[in-house]
Symmetry: C2
Subunit: 435 residues, 2 copies
């Protein structure tokens, strides 16, 4: 039986997940592919041995041993981070190896360099696991939705942030407390910045936009805000308005420019994305032919990620067996058709907004605030005013009709400068019915 | 630029959807595939002309003209039904044409014959549009989830039935009334039998099981019940129990046997499938590597189906261009590895149940009923008894713990035979928490 040989760099959680997957699915994959997919070499700087059932795998500390191994067809990089991951991938490509990676940070920053090197060396780059963990979203976008202009991408792409927001929603507990619990349970990392500040979500949106639109989108193109300022009171108000707060990646294609943003968003409960709970991810596309589609599953974890990486390995393996390398372009569009995006400035964004203003309960406050919004052309749809104790500041909550981001920023600045305002105004964007 | 030429049989709603898709996406597909995908010939017995923008397409009444046209690479069958669709596909295959079809009825009955003919003639069969309309669920199952043992398939796979159940749930209107409205609005066909009696859903489940498990599953293997007996009162009770009623396709893989059933099901609102509304479809898999994944979108319609058929055409076109025909086996497993399924008899099924018993409000009735269930080993979890008017029969609603289908059938027979029972007992299976 023919063999496809795989070399793996990084035997951590995800790396061992790939090894387990290829081990457990060995027979099944043979029955589907007609060839053996063999993990034959692992490079890991800290491992002295591999688990017993992997006794057939050669272990090395030096990734170069894999690049120079003539038997290796595909190199899988699962160490994460920018360096040495970037150098390893480029080196593998230079040696004519196909590469597979789950490294979203790397691809959203150095993707152009890596994809161009792969084209120059006529090798493949598999990166299904970089977005949505085990969900086959990248293959679906590239192949299943091939006959579509993608009008929008919206998604919950970080399980940790979604887990935290779900717990806050279900139990009314503050962010810091849920985060601490999540860290103790292993659902959040010791340094949760990438997850809760939206950076990891931005990495993934950049990758999806690149494929969907045929333009190299860089992490720097994405406007990113996290969830660490969300308070239980905002979640409670959201509920009163028939919404849930989710950390969404959002991109709308406007023809000559594209939106690219990650921020907490109020999502009407009737929308599929409002009902994605816990550590699950979901990615929603609108295509001009297919309409709305959504892909749901676990966005991280040892085995789900192993499932996606193994799918890439099989896909490339089939191309090796059929001599059909780069049968589908890595980025969906042929390399010569990939352009540069024009990103909509955030100041031009329009959507409905939620505002929570904290002010002293003086006569005329609401009138003053309404006047400021009115001056900036922001039309208010509804107002709730709640005071807890006499003399305490009140929460004035307003929902706007579709408004312009720049006008919103200017209004908030003026409102925050009022003597009666005792705290910074909270603003949350709302997913409009049309989305 | 290279060309892939397509011949289309059937220029009805879906056929014209494919034509529109290939026309509108022409430039985009060129930028992705590096070749022109051209619809060059259409066979339709009732069409005299094609719309103006399709002036380049040859129109014929005789499908044979397409089979014998040496320029045609791929034949797309979109006439539906068993004959002449079956003969057309077999004839096209015999002529060495690759084929694409959306015909789920045909594949769930004559699939084995068609797939074996394709293997014998070394051509491809594309059938993405046969399940889930525009949702790329078949490609995802075959390729994205390749490294998984599929433990279960559950889905809402008929938009008409789901639209009717959604309307009944939202407005408390009886089945017949919603159906009539749906027919007037074009959401249901004049003869809605296939949709509302679960047959169309069974077609699709047979196809998914065939791919997921590597066994030829026939329509006759699927135990099928429809939604025409569901009453608003059951939907109301479901709501009280935190559930919604959905027409589900369900298959669990038990190792040496597999469940295969389609029936109305009470789905806890916390489950993703409870939140799929209107004409949307969703298909949920549990895989041993990936865990739970779900695919959501429009399961029917001219353009969504066009999107899926076009994706198949592109996929096969790429294999023609790369000389990699049958790079991925049509049924996921290689032909020599496809077996025969052993279907779990319905009598062996176990799940929780909902019962609505209509009985005269006599003393001791509940005791009698509880005694019958107890005798058959069915343990009751909760009971609601509601009477509307004095002397009228009451509805006694019971939820069971996990029970056996055969014991349930026997209990219901005994209960229906009681003098106090004035109507046939309604039984609805409940999706258990583990699913």
């Amino acid at each position: 039986m023919k063999q496809i040989q795989v070399g793996l760099i990084g035997f951590g959680t995800v790396g061992s997940g790939l090894a387990e997957t290829l081990f457990e699915q060995k027979e099944r994959l043979q029955k589907k592919v007609g060839a053996e997919i063999v993990l034959s070499q692992v490079a890991d700087t800290s491992r002295k041995t591999l688990p017993k059932h992997f006794s057939g795998i050669t272990l090395t500390k030096d990734a170069n041993d894999i690049f120079t191994n003539p038997d290796i067809d595909i190199v899988v990089e699962l160490i994460g981070g920018l360096e040495p991951a970037r150098s390893f991938l480029l080196e593998a490509i230079k040696h004519g190896k196909h590469v597979v990676t789950a490294n979203k940070a790397l691809l959203s920053i150095h993707g152009k360099e890596i994809f161009e090197a792969a084209v120059a060396n006529n090798v493949e780059v598999g990166f299904e696991a970089s977005v949505g963990g085990g969900i086959p979203v990248i293959k679906s976008l590239k192949e299943g939705l091939v006959a579509n202009r993608i009008n929008s991408i919206m998604g919950i792409m970080n399980g940790t942030a979604n887990y935290i927001l779900t717990k806050m929603t279900d139990h009314g507990v503050p962010f810091a407390e849920v985060l601490k619990d999540a860290q103790e349970l292993g659902f959040a990392e010791a340094d949760p910045t990438y997850d809760v500040e939206g950076i990891d979500t931005a990495h993934k949106l950049a990758i999806l936009m690149t494929i969907a639109y045929g333009t190299y989108v860089h992490l720097d193109n994405i406007n990113t805000e996290g969830i660490s300022d969300i308070e239980p009171v905002d979640i409670e108000f959201a509920r009163e308005f028939g919404c849930r707060i989710k950390l969404l990646a959002i991109s709308h294609h406007h023809g000559d420019h594209v939106e690219a943003r990650v921020h907490p968003t109020m999502v009407p409960t009737s929308h599929m994305l409002a009902n994605i709970n816990g550590a699950y991810n979901a990615i929603h596309f609108n295509g001009d032919t297919v309409g709305n589609v959504l892909f749901y599953g676990l966005g991280a974890g040892k085995m789900p990620t192993g499932s996606a990486v193994a799918a890439d390995v099989v896909d490339i393996g089939r191309n090796i067996l059929c001599s059909s390398v780069n049968r589908v372009p890595a980025l969906s569009y042929l390399p010569e058709n990939i352009g540069t995006p024009k990103i909509t400035p955030m100041s031009k964004l329009t959507c409905p907004y939620y505002f929570r203003i904290t002010a002293l309960d003086h006569p005329g406050v609401l009138e003053t605030i309404a006047g400021i919004f009115n001056k900036h052309g922001i039309s208010i749809k509804s107002v709730i005013q709640k005071s807890r104790h006499q003399f305490d500041p009140v929460s004035i909550v307003l929902l706007s009709h579709t408004a312009n981001e720049e006008a919103v920023q200017n209004s908030i600045e003026e409102i925050n400068a009022l003597d009666v305002c005792t705290k910074k105004t909270v603003k949350i964007r709302i997913l409009s019915d049309k989305e």
